[in-house]
């Protein structure tokens, strides 16, 4: 092995010294603490006892499932079958199958129903349209008509599930009545882009009493407004999608370098593909503002997000 000379050793020592003195990004500690608080809030929400209406619905479902199980297990092939062909066939299958398999189908269905956050969820009344004007300075949406959720900002370099909380910042043109807004800014992205979004909690919100959303925004640039149905979100992420996921209804918004108010009606949203159905606003999982890689670098302000009333 060649022994490095003094010059090489000094060069290495300089490199090591520079590495020892390397400082983390400014305010990293504060951002870490914000993130910890955000995660802690999510954990608390996850373990909150269900509201009385959910609890009643869950009991009803459990009783229903028990009834269905009892009927299936006690039914004899050929006995008193009003829908003769289908029930006879299913009875034959049941007779050939082990007892556990007989019970599994209704049990799975009832489990799915029990886990469905849309069950027992009352629709938004349609009279309190404000989603968030950010003036409270936190990362939670306004708790009106039972809505709950936390803003976050994710970009393709985030690890799954670690998107940081998004806290409002002062508007450049702040007034006494309108001080804060959401602001995201970033460089070139290459894969799927970035998103500013929140999930409704529980992960189902019925916004059918409204006809769309409105918001103020400032660019320049382009965003895609995407109220996401549960049906486009994978089951593992709280949705109900089993195939062709991540294909939300979107509307493209060309932003200007001054604040403008934009309105997007549910009927204006489109999914990728031909012959796709219109948005079903009864089962919203989340609301996102998407930034695609071709629209990066990006510098987007958002404010005064509301549902559109009829």
């Amino acid at each position: 092995m060649k022994i490095p000379d003094d010059d090489e050793r000094q060069a290495l020592e300089r490199l090591l010294q520079a590495a020892r003195e390397e400082a983390p990004p400014p305010e990293l500690g504060e951002r870490v603490l914000e993130k910890l608080a955000y995660r802690a809030r999510l954990e608390r929400i996850a373990v909150l006892p269900p509201r009385r209406s959910y609890r009643a619905a869950a009991w009803s479902l459990a009783l229903l499932a028990a009834g269905v199980l009892l009927v299936v297990l006690t039914r004899k092939p050929g006995a008193d079958a009003p829908i003769a062909a289908e029930q006879a066939a299913s009875a034959r299958k049941a007779a050939a199958a082990p007892a556990g398999a007989i019970a599994s189908v209704p049990a799975q269905q009832s489990a799915r129903l029990a886990n469905d956050p849309c069950v027992g969820r009352a629709p938004g009344a349609g009279s309190q349209p404000l989603i968030d004007d950010f003036e409270d300075g936190d990362d939670e949406i306004s708790p009106l008509e039972g809505r709950a959720g936390f803003w976050r900002w994710a970009r393709e370099i985030d690890a799954p599930g670690t998107a940081p909380a998004l806290i409002p910042v002062p508007r450049p043109d702040a007034t006494r009545a309108n001080r804060l807004a959401q602001h995201v800014k970033g460089g070139q992205l290459l894969d799927w882009g970035a998103t500013v979004e929140f999930d409704f909690r529980p992960a189902c919100y019925d916004a059918s009493k409204y006809v769309g959303v409105s918001f103020q925004a400032r660019g320049p640039g382009r965003v895609y407004v995407a109220p996401r149905e549960r049906s486009v979100i994978p089951i593992a992420e709280g949705g109900s999608c089993e195939a062709d996921c991540y294909n939300p209804h979107v509307a493209k918004i060309e932003l200007e370098s001054v604040w403008r108010t934009y309105q997007v009606r549910w009927s204006e949203l489109r999914q990728r593909g031909i012959g796709k159905p219109a948005l079903d606003a009864r089962h919203l999982h989340s609301l996102a503002f998407l930034i695609r890689p071709e629209d990066t670098p990006y510098d987007v302000w958002l404010d005064d997000l509301r549902f559109l009333q009829r």
Binding site: P4, L12, P24, L36, I157, P164
Partner: protein, 174 residues
């Protein structure tokens, strides 16, 4: 603010720079290292009452090594991050100012560190860069002190060779 929150805040304040440097020097890019820092402190927050204050540093360093290793080996990291921290790679292009010279030096060290085996790299980062004692390194990595010493010696030799080679390559293209 609850007492635990204050203690957690103090832990973040005291150790965030250490955690970030360990994550960076064990191979994560700046953006990755920031996100991973959050993961590391989240792990501490979950086990806060189980980790005595005197053991926080060791706990955080060992968690940082594990988080960095998980990230580097995940499909997500390979497919997405690899192409993004372009500026962190050693560039042969002319440099306009001193700031970039410093950045290039950091990138050169990272490239040299990347040539080490992971078990040598961890020892080197903790002992040489973070200047932890052999006993501390041994505790964090769960290996005997003698093994720390031998790995450190091998790591230093390998690193000197790597730096020498990278510097001569850099000089050759100027």
């Amino acid at each position: 603010m609850p007492q635990t929150d204050l203690r957690l805040r103090a832990a973040v304040s005291n150790h965030v720079a250490l955690v970030w440097r360990v994550l960076r020097r064990t191979g994560l890019g700046p953006a990755d290292a920031e996100d991973a820092s959050q993961d590391v402190f989240w792990v501490l927050a979950q086990r806060f009452e189980d980790v005595p204050e005197r053991a926080q540093k060791s706990f955080l360093v060992s968690t940082a090594l594990r988080v960095a290793s998980d990230r580097k080996h995940s499909k997500w990291h390979r497919s997405v991050s690899a192409g993004l921290d372009v500026e962190a790679r050693v560039s042969d292009a002319p440099l306009p100012d001193e700031a970039l010279e410093i950045r290039r030096a950091g990138a050169l060290l990272d490239e040299a560190l990347a040539t080490l085996e992971e078990f040598e790299r961890s020892v080197f980062v903790l002992a040489e860069l973070e200047q932890m004692t052999r006993a501390e390194v041994a505790e964090v990595l769960g290996i005997p002190e003698g093994t720390v010493a031998s790995r450190l010696k091998r790591a230093r030799e390998s690193l000197e060779i790597a730096v020498r080679r990278l510097r001569s390559r850099s000089r050759a293209v100027r």
